[in-house]
Amino acid sequence: MILVRDWRRRTPKGLGLQTTIVAAVFVIAGHANAMETTALQAKIGYCQDCHGSSAQGYRGYLPIPRLAGQQTGYIENQLRAFIEHRRTNNIMFNVAHTLSPAMISALAAHFRDLNPPPIGGAPRELVAAGEKIFQDGVPDANIAACAACHGPQASGTGQIPRLAGQLYPYVIKELMNWGKERGQNPTVPDTSAIMSPVAHSLSRSQIEAVAAYVSYLK
């Protein structure tokens, strides 16, 4: 698992530890109040421009993923991966590298609590095959059951992402391009490595089936 640097441990030089802690508490409390009213709302509105009015996702020039209901550990990991260029995406790099750790936590918590219906649109005839792959895996092709890690309802847990309701073209794009987009710093291996063998083993049609299945899950 990647090491998450704890930003809160940094203290300014020259101040006593206790003074710093007291000051930090006031600053963070003040920030939390400010964030709830203005800065956070503004940032949420900004995310929604691309990710949809309730973060349900959007088919822009590229498919822009659903963030609603997403695991906070996963969102935080991805934002960090964008910032550190371990995950390649110029737009998201620019989005992420201006965010403070407190803002990241607040955004992740906000998105986690949203629950719009999936936007749908995937070919329905693929769903049955996708369900089988998701729940049972494809043992003779050495493809693990997605449900083992993502859960039987594709809700994810901790750092493992929710897939339920994710956009069909987005899931396809991610699985088809896994090794080209993620884990881009070989000297800093990250949790994206777990998915590499899976993404590699799945055929295009299996990917489409799984993507269709999860895209309708609530």
Binding site: D136, G137, P139, N142, A145, C149, I160
Partner: protein, 227 residues
Amino acid sequence: MEARQIKNSAHGATTRTVAQLGFALLLSFGIGVAHAQDTHPASASAKDVQAKLAYCEVCHGVSAQGFRGYYPIPRLAGQQPQYLENQLQAFVEHRRTNNIMFNVGHDLSPAMITALVTDFHELNPKPLGGAPKDLIPVGKKIFDEGIPAANVPACSSCHGPDGKGNGPFPRLAGQLNDYTISKLVNWTKERGQNPASPDTSAIMAPIAHSLTKPQIEAVAAYLSYLE
């Protein structure tokens, strides 16, 4: 695949002749099939075993150390081969309930199973960790001494003083604490599911039943740090 047997018709001579000719034809096919069978190696190829191991490790973690997926997925590294074989058999026969492992297990040839359990036994990564350390002393006491007042024998008596197991008794050393807890709490809901075919899981049923949840958590924590 075995050559199909043809039942000789009990009807008239002509029918019997036709049947015999047909049987001869099929026998030659059967021999052909059997011959093809002989050219397939009795053991799984190294490449297939490596591919299958990589597949297992997607869920069971790097070097099969275990992984916290949606469910806690157990460490297989250093596990007793006989225990692994028994569990795979139990999954396939639905004596142990797990849909994902049923699908994994029923596809494996005996040669592949032998290769896998041997390879897993040789792996030795550090324990994944993560359990509350303050529970260790209580867990160690239960593991070493049992709980005589509750008729719980010392775990060490079967699992070994180092928790590495023996033969059909599984290694517990380094097992994920949340996995161990889940198994002990749910023992009879998951194992021994065919009353017509009782299995060795019955040994653990009274023990799992007698342990309280705090005792289970303590033992699980202790075991999870053993190397």
